[in-house]
Symmetry: C3
Subunit: 149 residues, 3 copies
Amino acid sequence: MVAPTLSFENEVFAKFAFYAGVVLLKTVIMSGWTARYRLPRGVFISSEDYVGRSGQTMKIDEDVERTRRCHLNDIENVLPFVLIGLLYVLTGPTVASATLHFRLFAGFRLFHTIAYMFILPQPSRAIAFFVGFGVNISMAITVIRAGMF
Amino acid sequence: MVAPTLSFENEVFAKFAFYAGVVLLKTVIMSGWTARYRLPRGVFISSEDYVGRSGQTMKIDEDVERTRRCHLNDIENVLPFVLIGLLYVLTGPTVASATLHFRLFAGFRLFHTIAYMFILPQPSRAIAFFVGFGVNISMAITVIRAGMF
Amino acid sequence: MVAPTLSFENEVFAKFAFYAGVVLLKTVIMSGWTARYRLPRGVFISSEDYVGRSGQTMKIDEDVERTRRCHLNDIENVLPFVLIGLLYVLTGPTVASATLHFRLFAGFRLFHTIAYMFILPQPSRAIAFFVGFGVNISMAITVIRAGMF
């Protein structure tokens, strides 16, 4: 009997779940990373969070803002990757082609975070962004073609 | 015959679909909630929305901004929950363990919205956030381990 | 033998994958669209991106901001559509009902982008938004009811 497409016995799906799990975990961790800056520095997002903290007023912190931008960039790229990737797995790609897509995306996404948070000189962040962008476009076109016919 | 993992005959999936549906519905409703404040108060997001509204200029409304922050927080937490949760269902968890994860996330997420919109004193919103954060981390690790071997 | 629900042999799923692929592709393209404005105009998101660009300081560009708002609106609407839609496909809707939901959402979402980027007079953008909103609510309720019983 053939294993269902969406099962860990299917090598393409198992690889997808692994890489999707890694980049989703990274995205979720960005929330906690923001909180780690906010609390010790007393930089909060809502005016009501300052109640009872005398002498503190709303302010902009450069590191908090950088973490937030990095997090939003993940939301804009990682979530579409997982959604497109899941549909792409169902088109039945070869293991080689699928693994190439997933590895490129996950590798350059981790590098994107490092480039953002440790302020590596451009174009490192731009390259990391465009590789992920290309992977998403490539998988989306495969899905649309499979759904069309 | 065993029911497919992703079918409503599988109790784990049915529970996941129910709780995921509830938190997704809540997230989508936040968009309409913002609109409900914007229209009567004449507070719009784009300068072109003010065309033909004499005497109105772009302004910041505290309630609109709070609703938007609450909505963005849902985007950052609910969408990863549904994606990680779907992969987690495919790892074949026990009904008890899966239900605990889904209930904790959905319950504290609804509480998070109440705490945000009705401005409950901290740390209520922080606790609500961190419970959901923990559920997502726990499920993501389960998925990564299942995909690794 | 009946084809699995999540396979391109299932007409409802194939249509879903097609329309989900189209709106996800559109969402991903919005990132590149922002970059297309940023680079020639020298309008960047992080202060470190200005290093080595003498005479340029951080500024707000109306077109960049419009593209970003349009992109964020996609994130808030398209990603929930794909997640709710996938669960909705698993509730086993009729082809006619499912196609109506997917087509309405995808058609009005493309129109939303046109209305936003080419600044069509309101309420064109508002109508486009509310049709997609209604489709998401309708599918979410179907999913919740299926998961409840």
